[in-house]
Subunit: 753 residues, 2 copies
């Protein structure tokens, strides 16, 4: 357990680091040369970055982040970013309202009791408590009537959460609806994906099969189809070609520069063709790459043709002449058997995972199950190493097992620092390795859109961190720290539920301080780094100085990419879970959580407005995910409370029993009422008026993998005149004049019959 001094040190040091980093940011972000690092989003949007001559105080960014409206955020950073920031807003609201009750009422109640003193005097128990433990529920004596206040706290916490979550869900749905019914229609709104197409009848091509099916089922709205084909070598060749082009440009730039300097015809750049240009014969780069391009281009085109014809899969993309029609088709069951003709709303073109499109129905079912099993085991059995980490990295144990450390450790300052950080650092390092694995697992499920992949991985990660960091550390940490608890467990024979709850309860409040430092570290240092972007900055300057020759290369070095939802969302959710779990038992955690999400809100808004550029939009599909995870957190916290109250021998603990059930009920209701509007676009929304309709050809082009988009095909698409599409648009008015409002211009006013 962390001693008070260690606790303070940890806080102070983290805070100092934070201040320093913010200062660095305030200073560096003003310098002209760094603009691409601190305002890339603005640059890419073609808007002018802040004038470096205008003095920007360290508070300017805060002011700007604070003043931006949500619509601006959606406008600039996209719906998903806005949703992500809503996570912070929600957490802030929940924690704030909880604090209103817990801080002023529960802390005094705890502080004025004396359970810990009594415990400490008790010779049997080897209990040692810090002053921090005295303002937690642990300091309330068993069966004390003061526990009533904490019980009320539990209810307060739950209902605050329900209320805020409901409010936010509604708000988010409205944001989404606004985005969906946007007058600037997006290509995916006219598109559906078709999976599990049955084998073609003989003497019939895929196209014919698909077209005839959908022409019959959606006679008036179906436009055309595009069969999904395997990429085969195409993607590889395309990549090679791209690099070749880049290298050529680079080489030419080098030549140019050399000209300007020395001899006016300059020195032609050379390079070795072996790996990393380390060995092999030396060649003239420009000629070499020119040849490479000449050689690759035809190859690629040929490969593209081949895959188009030979690698057709049992999946297709179908296009409709109105948003409404596509929205309808995406919700409908087309074949009586679900394992044929599955039509689903299309994700953003950029987000399609092409190699998963043709995974067959049954494969998906099985893969899913298998992945779940694997995930389950990952989550459960990582617990042991983490437990060990938590155990060994408490300084006591370290010196116990590695006596030679004593000498170092005896330096008090150092001691407390190590004591404060060792465990957290161990954990953080460990967790950093996870996301890749989970992404791979999720992809194996056969998911077909990037955003869904990320969500799936986040879900797995969340359960992982909650189970291991939160539960794992609490329980194992205790086990290894107090021998008698191990005795307790072994004496109880089986790893029975009650003993675990008991133990868990018993070990909660001491761990509170641990988690507080955990939170503090994460937010001070984490956000400090996030804001100052030191790493990208350094990389940028190094590359720019030594590597980059062409404009494109420079751009690539500062290309910001999008928010890293995968590690951040589960971690933020973990913090919420921890906070909810300790809000009542050790209310001291609340102000730190408040700080975490407060600063987070500012920093992430700043990043959303100025730094990150979304790679694709999921239409805010992250919210149901976040919503239910927060509820899981609440559920965990309610169970925790049940455990701890029964440890406290509180006779009225049964009064807490309804809470978990309430949570389940609430989750269920939200799922029924709100979730569907994230699965599908409501017809009423989809049939609202559109102004700018993309041409069919542009929509088709959008849904072609880049490496298949060769010049010829582009021409094909251009040649394919947009008449049908224009028709679809043009002859709708004529219909509506005959008393039928057209889907596309379906005016809100009732049609003129």
């Amino acid at each position: 357990m962390v001693s008070t001094s260690a606790f303070i040190t940890s806080l102070v040091t983290s805070f100092l680091i934070f201040v320093v980093l913010v200062m660095i940011f305030a200073f560096l972000s003003r310098r002209k040369g760094n603009i691409p690092i601190y305002y890339p989003a603005i640059l890419l949007k073609g808007r002018s970055p802040p004038d470096p001559n205008v003095v920007r105080t360290p508070w300017t960014w805060i002011k700007e982040a604070w003043e931006a409206t949500e619509d601006e955020v959606v406008e600039i950073a996209g719906l998903d970013a806005a949703i992500y920031i809503n996570l912070f807003t929600t957490a802030l609201k929940i924690i704030f309202w909880t604090s209103c009750f817990c801080l002023p009422i529960l802390i005094p109640l705890a502080a004025t009791d004396k359970n810990n003193k009594l415990q400490a005097q008790d010779p049997e128990k080897s209990a040692n408590f810090t002053s921090l433990d005295d303002i937690a529920m642990g300091n309330i004596q068993n069966k004390s009537s003061r526990l009533w206040a904490f019980l009320i706290g539990g209810y307060w916490l739950s209902f605050v959460t329900y209320y805020i979550l409901r409010q936010t869900y509604k708000h988010v749905i409205e944001l989404r609806a606004k985005d969906q019914s946007n007058v600037r229609a997006k290509p995916e709104q006219f598109t559906c994906l078709v999976r599990d197409i049955p084998p073609t009848a003989k003497n019939e091509t895929r196209e014919e099969q698909v077209d005839s099916f959908f022409k019959q089922v959606h006679p008036e709205t179906y436009e055309k189809s595009k069969i999904v084909t395997g990429l085969g070598q195409a993607s590889k060749l395309w990549a090679e070609l791209e690099t070749a082009k880049a290298k050529l440009a680079h080489a030419e730039a080098v030549l140019e520069q050399s000209k300007s300097k020395a001899a006016e015809d300059g020195t032609r750049p050379m390079h070795k063709i072996g790996k990393f240009g380390l060995y092999g014969e030396k060649v003239d780069s420009i000629n070499y790459w020119n040849e490479k391009i000449k050689e690759l281009t035809p190859k690629l085109e040929e490969e593209q043709k081949r895959s188009e014809t030979e690698e057709q899969k049992g999946a297709a993309i179908i296009f409709f002449n109105s948003r409404r029609a596509a929205a309808e088709a995406g919700q409908e069951r087309h074949s009586p058997f679900a394992d044929r003709w599955q039509v689903i709303p299309a994700p953003e073109p950029r987000a399609v995972v092409w190699d998963n499109m043709h995974v067959s129905f049954y494969q998906r079912l099985v893969r899913e199950k298998v992945v779940y099993v694997i995930t389950f085991f990952t989550v459960v059995f990582y617990m042991i190493p983490i437990g060990l980490i938590a155990a060994f990295t408490t300084l006591g144990n370290l010196t116990k097992y590695l006596p030679f450390l004593k000498s170092i450790v005896n330096i008090p300052a150092l001691k407390s620092v190590i004591e404060a950080y060792l465990p957290q650092l161990a954990l953080i390092v460990f967790l950093a390795l996870l996301p890749k694995l989970l992404l791979a697992l999720s992809k194996a499920e056969g998911i077909i859109s990037q955003d869904h992949l990320v969500r799936a991985a986040c879900g797995k990660m969340y359960y992982f961190v909650v189970f291991n960091v939160f539960l794992g550390f609490t329980i194992f940490g205790t086990l290894f720290n107090s021998l008698n608890s191990i005795k307790q467990l072994t004496s109880a024979g089986a790893f029975s539920f009650n003993t675990v709850v008991e133990l868990f309860g018993a070990s909660l409040p001491p761990n509170a301080t641990y988690f507080i430092t955990f939170v503090a570290l994460k937010f001070f240092v984490g956000y400090g780094l996030e804001l100052s972007r030191l790493v990208p900055l350094i990389i940028f300057h190094l590359k720019k100085k030594f590597l980059c020759k062409t404009e494109k290369e420079v751009e690539n070095t500062w290309a910001p990419g999008s928010f890293g939802y995968l590690p951040s969302i589960p971690n933020d959710l973990l913090i919420i879970t921890i906070t909810l779990a300790y809000a009542v038992i050790a209310p001291l955690i609340l102000p730190f959580a408040l700080a975490y999400f407060g600063v987070g809100w500012l920093v992430q808004r700043n990043q959303a407005l100025k730094v990150y550029v979304p790679e694709y939009e999921s239409g805010g599909r992250f919210w149901p995910h976040i919503h239910s995870r927060i509820l899981v957190g609440l559920f965990v916290s309610q169970i925790t409370m049940l455990g701890y109250f029964s440890v406290k021998k509180f006779p009225f603990v049964v009064l807490l029993l309804p809470l978990p059930f309430l949570t389940i009920l609430f989750a269920n209701i939200c799922h029924k009422v709100y979730y569907p509007s994230f699965r599908f676009v409501a017809i009423a929304v989809a049939s609202e008026e559109v102004k700018e309709v993309p041409t069919l050809s542009s929509v088709v082009a959008a849904f072609t993998p880049t490496c298949l988009l060769d010049s010829n095909e582009m021409n094909d698409i251009e040649k394919l005149d947009d008449s049908n599409f224009q028709d679809a648009e043009s002859h709708l008015p004529s219909r509506s004049s005959s008393g039928i409002a057209s889907p596309a211009d379906g005016a809100l006013a009732p049609p003129t019959v």
Copy 2:
């Protein structure tokens, strides 16, 4: 425990009863006067019943039931009846294939072992075994390698079930699709129900609100809407009016008869106006009823008008111009919030539960939960009385508690009869009281179609019978019968899982004989009564002789009604569950189950073809229900086996562990692949060609509650000329000529572009 002699008696007596009843049927069904009882379906279909002069052997009905094809059954008795009979077919297949392994292999293995003997010799155990127990798994010695065969039996059973269930599900879906794409379109195929309509804006009527919304969302296919109104007094008044009319007809008929007999102007019938005509002043019936009618008719009409205008609810029925359009609308999410504008496919008009149409979204959610909780408690806490019944009604106990019975009981014949029947009768009587309660509960959930109501009630009933009859009897029966088992339980302190499994396992094989008699009784006597229809027959003749005067009255006395799915399906499913549970442990049950479902198959087919007339069609929606319940049965049986194998101390019992998980996986896959086609009509099916299209007016009329269908309204509907509808039909070809196949006549051939 049932002694062998009692067992034999039970079988013999049941069988005799069965034979007698079949004879009665064969004899009575030939007599002309009974035709309305034995061939009502044929009469109502207007087809000629079998000529009584043609001699029908007792086997004729079997021949006919055997020879009828499934299509004939669907044609004559409707899809639901065919589905119900599929339950028997499936059970037969499963049980037959299981028998193929269990009877020839497991029984000999058990018979040649001698565990029971050893047990009986053991002085400590007060075990007594019958010769029946010797051919059950109980007779295998612990840890014996013979158990391997039984383990394989477990796997055989499971995979047979999976295979057959999958096969049947596919078959049923094809039946349903055939029915859905029938060229004779049904009114409900053009109709959807709308619930949770948001409150109207001011200065706008419900009609305007609904029409404007759907005209905008389904501009080309939406026809008209009909707001659901509360029935208020209308239904009551209507009922009174009907009775009045009937009474009048009756009285006139009486007068006629009296004329023909005595004085040519006859004696006018009189009756007292008090309750049941027992007291009050005497009046001339004809005049009295004439006045009543005169008085009621205007009242009703006025009430109808009132409800039409004043009792409008937040629900409506909407009509489309094509099956495809309605199928589409029924699957789509219309509002971004699920608690508004819920559009669902319409059930058959006759099946709509009008008073549930307007139950609000949140009310439904809450009601559902509440009902579930109530059901749960009903299921669990009925266990106690049933346990007591099972305990007291074993003769041993009876004499123990009521010594005076000894004298009677000592008569051996009587003794064994009582011994055989007491428990079963007690149970059967007890269970007969349940359905009403469950129906009421289900209705409280806010379900809006009769068929769904019945299904919901059946589901509850199934869990009830499995939990109470099967588990309840097995466990409690044992508890009360052997004192040491009670000791066992109490000594174990808590009602822990292991002890229960142990107990359960230990008490299984003895109970097998009990359940065999249970099955035998149910099928011999049950089907005997079902076939011979003695009760309806007697009632019919009595009423006809003494009460009925008019043709209508006579008809009412023999009106057959539809299959009583509510008590029968859960009971049949219970038999399946029991059979699956005992198939391996006491294979002797298999032949009886085979007989049960074999005879059941014949009898129910006969009833379907000749007797029952469906009140409404659910489109075979009963199958998913049956399917999943059979799987639950399999699951229970797998758990049971696990328990019993561990009682047998079989070291390789772990090999059975995968089975329950396999079952869950299988259930999950079926739910994903097949279930959706029962929730919705596939668009491909709905857009197949229709020949006979009902007129809009007739569709609207069909969806008006009878008690609101007064003459005026009928005229209104007639007046409302079908032009729009005809238009919708007529101007579709013109479209399709412009290259777009129309939804309604959407020819299967690809459109002529």
